[in-house]
Symmetry: C2
Subunit: 218 residues, 2 copies
Amino acid sequence: MTTVRTSTGAVSGRGRRAGRSAGDDRELAILATAERLLEQRAFAEISIDDLARGAGISRPTFYFYFPAKDAVLLTLLDRVTEEADSAAGDVLVHLAEDPRARWRELIGRFHATFGGHRAVVLACAEVRGTNAEVRRLWATVLERWVQAVEAAVEAERRRGAAPPGLPARDLAIALNSMNERVWYATFAGDGPAVAERDVVDVLLDVWLTAIYRTTTPT
Amino acid sequence: MTTVRTSTGAVSGRGRRAGRSAGDDRELAILATAERLLEQRAFAEISIDDLARGAGISRPTFYFYFPAKDAVLLTLLDRVTEEADSAAGDVLVHLAEDPRARWRELIGRFHATFGGHRAVVLACAEVRGTNAEVRRLWATVLERWVQAVEAAVEAERRRGAAPPGLPARDLAIALNSMNERVWYATFAGDGPAVAERDVVDVLLDVWLTAIYRTTTPT
DNA sequence: GAGTGGAGTCGACACCCTGTCGAGCGCGTG
DNA sequence: CACGCGCTCGACAGGGTGTCGACTCCACTC
């Protein structure tokens, strides 16, 4: 077997092929179908047959591209978290310039990214309970964000902007957890939820008070 | 929301019978089997046949007692939330006596209740994504707690113990959401989580700073 | 320009789980 | 003692999943 590499961008190892061309369209078609269908109904209501037909192939052929339905979602999740990561960029490095503005930027960008793919985000939340792989992927992503926030909090304490308090890691976990759940409720629209246009400010306020004991840190 | 109770144990209207005697054992046996099995494997891994056999009946007979597998979980969830409600009692009414202690009591009691039924709680989280009824039940329960906290925050602001800030309802939603997600991670043990023995104090700290801007309110 | 091999495709099958239907059992009451 | 009701289950239909083997198409070799 000749060594081949993906022409454009190495679409991750989730899809089963390492290959180059023709069938890539199909793989992409499956992904696109999934994201489109997810905007209409829940992940559980979508059968592999739906995905296959949507991509113009038969059900058995689907298995040529993905080992299971969940793998499609996993790939979609990969993309979203990557987008969130790059959207977040390195705002936390410049915290000292204007803490409130920077934190708001961070939360706002995550909000925008998740909001732009709410169907995928909601589907992942739906499946996380059942699927260990989604759970693991989300756990590693979250761990990265938690560590970033933890480091930022410690830096703020070192420069005297934030008072000592809870272990930074625990604080980071609690705040990230809050965001996740609050966004979920806001996007899903079920149960008590914060209005979408207020959600960033509400979250920001809790973050600032928890970290600085004030909403106007310097 | 009509609360239905029966002679002995207030089993709610979830099980299909309103009745009194013999088959009650079976209904209870199904419930007990479910809670036991849930401690070993995920809800999705438990088939109706497992539940039926565990209760000493056949699969079709299961349907005589519950309309579906999810209904069993719903009943279990009912019990847990009722237990949590009564454990919480009216602590929030006596907030002014010692705010920090009362809030801690509230969070601690919820923690104890959920921790005592973590299998059920985890299973509900697992199923919430898929099952609309679980979602609705959880939403109404949460709404009740949110309103209680909202009222308490407003009372604390009126008596001058807490400064003005976020709309009390939004704050209550954010804090309750945080608790839910943090507990889930702690009990499930996957992903970044706060250690079980610290979790109450961590949550308390964020609640106090968000509400009072200090961890030692008066 | 026949031969080879791998990418890509699908019909058909076995399997598992769900939900339902209809026939049956035992027992208390009129 | 027969009638009804609480309770029980065998058997079936239906829908989804995953797999296997055969088939096509094409690029590339000799």
